[in-house]
Each structure stands twice: as C-alpha cells, then as structure tokens.
Subunit: 151 residues, 2 copies
C-alpha cells in the first residue's frame, strides 16, 4: 500500500461541483430500505437536470423505492494515489407512470440509461434530490516520492 | 458505450465466494441511518474473519453506527466490459471499546485498516454480519467482437 504524508485534505464540494462530477460517471449506488432492511446496490444512472434517473426491474426493490426516501452515492477514488471524490444525493424516488405528463416521461427516457446488469429493466425511477453533498480527498505526497527526492 | 449481446447473465454468489471477493478489495461503502437520513459513504475496510472492520472519526456517523444495523457494500465492475460483481453485507455495527476482551480489540487493530481519507480515525468499528449476498454480472459478447468475427 502506498503511504502518504499526513497533509492529505478533505475538501467540501459545492452543489454545482457535485452535479458536475455526477455527470462524469455512469455507475452509482442506490440505498434504500426494503422489508425493514437497508440495502445498497450498484446501478447505472443518468441525469435529467438535477434528477437522477435509474432503471429497475419489477420486484421488491422497485416496490421499496417508489415514493420512498432513498440515498444515491457516486464516487471515483484512485487506489494508487488515494485521491478522489464522493457525492451523496438524498432524495425522493418516484417511478415514472401514466399520471406523469408526457414531457417528463420523455425527458426521463431521453437520459438513455442502459443497465449493465442483465434482465428486464422496464421501470424508470426518478430520484428528486432534497440534499446533495460531496467531498474530495486531496492526497498527501507519497512517502516513496519523498524518499526518492532525498527528503 | 460498448454494446453487448443479450446473453449477459446475473449469477448469485455463495457466501464463501462473497467473502473471498471481499478479501480482494480495500474500499467499500457503509450505509446507515443518521438523524433519520440514509447516508452512504466510501470507507476503507479490513476483515477479521467474517467481521468487517472500518475506522471512523468522532462524530455523528460514529454515533449513528454504534449498536445499529448497517449495510456494507463492495463492488468491482469494469466499465469496459460491463462485467463484475457486488457483495452486500447487512450487520450489526459495534465500536470496539474497553468492555471488549483484549484479544478481540487486538485482532481488530491487526486488520491494519488504513483510511485513505485524512483526519483522525481513532474509532474502530466492527460490522458483525447477519446476512451476506452477492451477484456477479457475466457480460454478453461485445457486439463489436461479433462484427470483427464476421458473424
């Protein structure tokens, strides 16, 4: 494991920076309560403005998510440098259905989210953010590098 | 985005295979309820047998985690091939303290978990698994490859 000096820092990100980072990735983790149990599952996602769009198949996760408060996390952390960032969205999840206006359903499908996991994913879920927060880990100088530099 | 044929499959993993995979990574996501809100945060971890060990600083996350049911997720998914795996542990989290026998505290510290994020991480948390489950995404054949092969 690369050791670094103790001057690594944790930087709090603005909401704007959080959304910019969300737009750079395709895979996040959806957290919700299903049958009284907390679950976290990797999901592909897209964005309709600030709304996170994911696709789910029919089943217990969809039932647990619809009209529920959920968490959605995305991160990108480099194991080599120990630097990276994470963003957490807390929001209300809602399945897109007939009661929604056509424009919203269309915008949701226009995100063109493709699930890497196989299986039917006919249900589109929108996570309407209530709070977004993020942190960036700014790595310290690798100790090996300090040694190389003779310090 | 690489397109694959529709024969990708989702394989259910045994508990033994889940633990084998957990031992290959250093970074997971801890999910818990803090002040009524679900949060998911990336954390470094180690294993003491089946017990997941993470380090936390003093604060609201530690207070929310201690003696609580938490979720812990690890995945490794290749964006190029859309294949990979994810493992979910549900368990009871417990901070290691004076009331624990010395051997347990020592074993916990012997996991030598190092946090990549900076800041004081003087508190050691054990997540005692109540359930473990995992899935592997076996990718379909990339469509590009099929074309290359003339099929």
């Amino acid at each position: 494991m690369t050791r670094t000096t103790d001057d690594a820092a944790l930087e709090v990100l603005s909401a704007e920076e959080c959304y910019r980072l969300l737009a750079t990735q395709q895979l996040g983790r959806l957290g919700l309560i299903s049958n009284g149990n907390q679950i976290i599952m990797p999901v592909n996602y897209g964005l309709d403005g600030p709304v996170v769009v994911v696709r789910l198949g029919q089943g217990s996760v969809l039932r647990a998510a619809d009209h529920a408060n959920v968490a959605f996390e995305v991160d990108s952390i480099d194991p080599a440098t120990h630097s990276g960032w994470s963003v957490l969205v807390r929001g209300l999840a809602e399945e897109v259905g007939d009661r929604h206006e056509r424009g919203l359903a269309q915008r949701t499908r226009d995100t063109a989210v493709e699930s890497w996991a196989p299986g039917e994913r006919g249900h589109w879920l929108r996570v309407i953010p209530q709070a977004i927060s993020g942190r960036r880990i700014v790595a310290g100088v690798p100790v090996d590098l300090l040694v190389d530099l003779g310090s």
